[in-house]
Subunit: 185 residues, 2 copies
Amino acid sequence: MTTRETIIDTADHLIRSNGFNAFSFKDISNKIGIKTASIHYHFPTKSDLGVATIKEHIERFEYLKKEFENKSPLQKLNGFLSIYSQIKSENKVCLVGSLATDLNTVEDSIKNELKNFAELVLLWVTEILTEGKKQKMFEFQTTPRTKALMIITNILAIVQLSRLTQAEDFDIVKEAIIKDLRPHI
Amino acid sequence: MTTRETIIDTADHLIRSNGFNAFSFKDISNKIGIKTASIHYHFPTKSDLGVATIKEHIERFEYLKKEFENKSPLQKLNGFLSIYSQIKSENKVCLVGSLATDLNTVEDSIKNELKNFAELVLLWVTEILTEGKKQKMFEFQTTPRTKALMIITNILAIVQLSRLTQAEDFDIVKEAIIKDLRPHI
DNA sequence: GTCTATATTCCGATAGAC
DNA sequence: GTCTATCGGAATATAGAC
């Protein structure tokens, strides 16, 4: 991994663990053994680093989509939800949730890149649901896009909320999402 | 309103607009025309102010519960969801969502008070759903507590997510929550 | 590319006068 | 209760040597 990639990975960890405004170049410096001035060589400003972190997520997301290309809608949805299981197990939150709550404090470059990412996620889940309904694998009454909003908000927020209620609530909600789509099972 | 109350109200606004780590005593100082040293007289530390802000929300929540005591489950649920309509119209997020994403960076005093608040909210929505099912006003398959988790996560996260997708998505999700509970309508 | 050194600004918090 | 003044520390960012 290049230094640039290591910086992005560390920033990603810190943003989703502590929030954008709570992490500093010094944190990264301490973690990976490089001076803050050197981080500025790779990313002139903190916003540049923020944008690069979102772009990294977009790339990983596109890769995941490709991996599931020929799988069933149920497998795809489980693949999507598993991203959040990983996040939960690391006691983090997702990038969209972390930055959305800080949205009024970040530069437009970050805001716009995050909008791109959120749109990609919403589109994919909408596609999965459309395909699943067509194959009679999923049942739901709303439009696929609305159902995608319901599912994404469920999983995005239970990562946050189960920090306060009970950790098991994450799996309870994850399973309820699937069960709701497959009442015939 | 006392100075103390004005400080809490301003802190509440700033926490939900910008996040706990992005707001400062200087922000409050500028907004209400009092020096930061005077804020420290009322709240020795920033954490003390954070805790007081959550306690204020708990009080307001208990008051709202009382107001809806003799209303129908549907009216109660609409009352609950309307809190978020207000939040959305102010371009803020809810206190639980804002602090949950910053949870790893705040002191235990804040963490514990926020857990109390989240538990209260979850209990009330669970009660509303239990009552609504008993009266055959609501239909759902899971336990009332699980359904409460689904609804709370929907509304908590669509406030955040609709900042990135489309503002109208908030109302779409809010209406879908009600429609899902009342498929016979 | 990475370093040292530093500029500038802001933060939470405290002491003590009024 | 509110003020002035200040401390100690941390933040983002830059200049320039290596």
